[in-house]
């Protein structure tokens, strides 16, 4: 199905169009990250309807738009968003592969201090894995941590 020309259309209207017209895509990818040494690992689960939008193209705004809104919300005197038009008027991004969509999602929904600096400590703070690589049951969920023995060089993905 061809995506309508959506630049200038409210982002929520686009999401409703996608919900009506696109099948959800359950990604097997999960993003595991640790943003505090005192807490267990967090698991970011990509949304199936969002993933369908990312793969379709022409719906989602560039990720930099979200960074701008996050900057606004981080201001101490923030009350309301006044630049929501960035979501609606910025040219939507083209279709992504599933892997590109996961990278986009990391940059949108993971804390910046995690993904910008994911490999600077004694062990990686963030790992992309497949769902089946997570523990199969929720037992000991609050003790889940990224393995300290995980290699992080480029051969890992091979």
């Amino acid at each position: 199905m061809k995506t309508p020309e959506f630049q200038g259309t409210h982002l929520f209207d686009r999401l409703c169009w996608a919900k009506e017209n696109l099948d959800g895509v359950q990604s097997d990818y999960r993003v595991v990250y640790e943003d505090s040494v005192d807490e267990c690992a967090k698991i970011l689960v990509p949304d199936p309807n969002w993933m369908a939008c990312a793969l379709q193209g022409g719906i989602l705004p560039p990720v930099q738009v979200y960074w701008e809104l996050a900057k606004d919300e981080a201001q101490p005197d923030f009350k309301k968003h006044t630049r929501g038009y960035l979501l609606h008027n910025t040219k939507p991004v083209e279709a992504m592969t599933e892997e590109q969509a996961i990278e986009y999602l990391i940059m949108k929904d993971c804390p910046q201090h995690v993904w910008r600096d994911w490999d600077s400590g004694n062990k990686p703070k963030m790992v992309i894995c497949r769902k089946e690589q997570l523990p199969a049951t929720r037992e000991w969920r609050n003790a889940w941590k990224i393995s300290e023995e995980l290699a992080t060089d480029e051969t890992v993905a091979a």
């Binding site: 409703c16 689960v45 949304d47 630049r83």
Partner: protein, 147 residues
């Protein structure tokens, strides 16, 4: 007298813009998620980019289209009293079933225009404390104003 019917795809205000009537029909829900914590997957959603599974019974849902503020919105959370899609109850009447609420118990997050955090629990009884719990269906819905 027969009921009248108005068919329109758009309502337009003279100065404040237009509204697609599908949102009137759908009740104005701006975000929802139905998360299966047992299988660790989102079963259904609207206006969510990802769900972050924080720990046992604790989650936050990030919006694709943010709300306009951190506080000018309302959320509802609920959950299914089961860990196997309703085949068996998780918590009987003696524990008063299960419940869900906005916010988290152990991993507090400030209110935000771009996400909502929520948690699910089973209740306490005479000789046992309640606790955070993972369930087959933990739901959260948002109404308010979009950015």
């Amino acid at each position: 007298m027969a009921l009248g019917k108005i068919k329109a795809d758009t309502l337009e205000h003279s100065t404040a813009g237009a509204l697609d009537t599908q949102f009137v029909v759908s009740g104005g829900t701006l975000h929802y998620v139905n998360y299966d914590a047992i299988s660790q997957a989102t079963d259904d959603s609207l206006n969510q980019s990802s769900l972050t599974d924080v720990s046992t019974g604790e989650y936050y849902s990030t919006f694709t289209n943010a709300m306009d503020s951190a506080t000018n919105k309302a959320h509802w959370a609920s959950c299914l009293n089961s860990t196997d899609n309703g085949a068996n109850d998780r918590s009987g009447a003696i524990r008063a079933g299960v419940h869900a609420c906005i916010g988290m118990n152990d991993n507090h997050r400030a209110l935000s225009a771009s996400e909502v955090s929520f948690a699910s629990y089973f209740g306490s009884f005479g000789s046992g404390d309640g606790a955070l719990d993972d369930l087959s269906m933990v739901c959260c819905m948002t109404k308010g104003t979009l950015a």
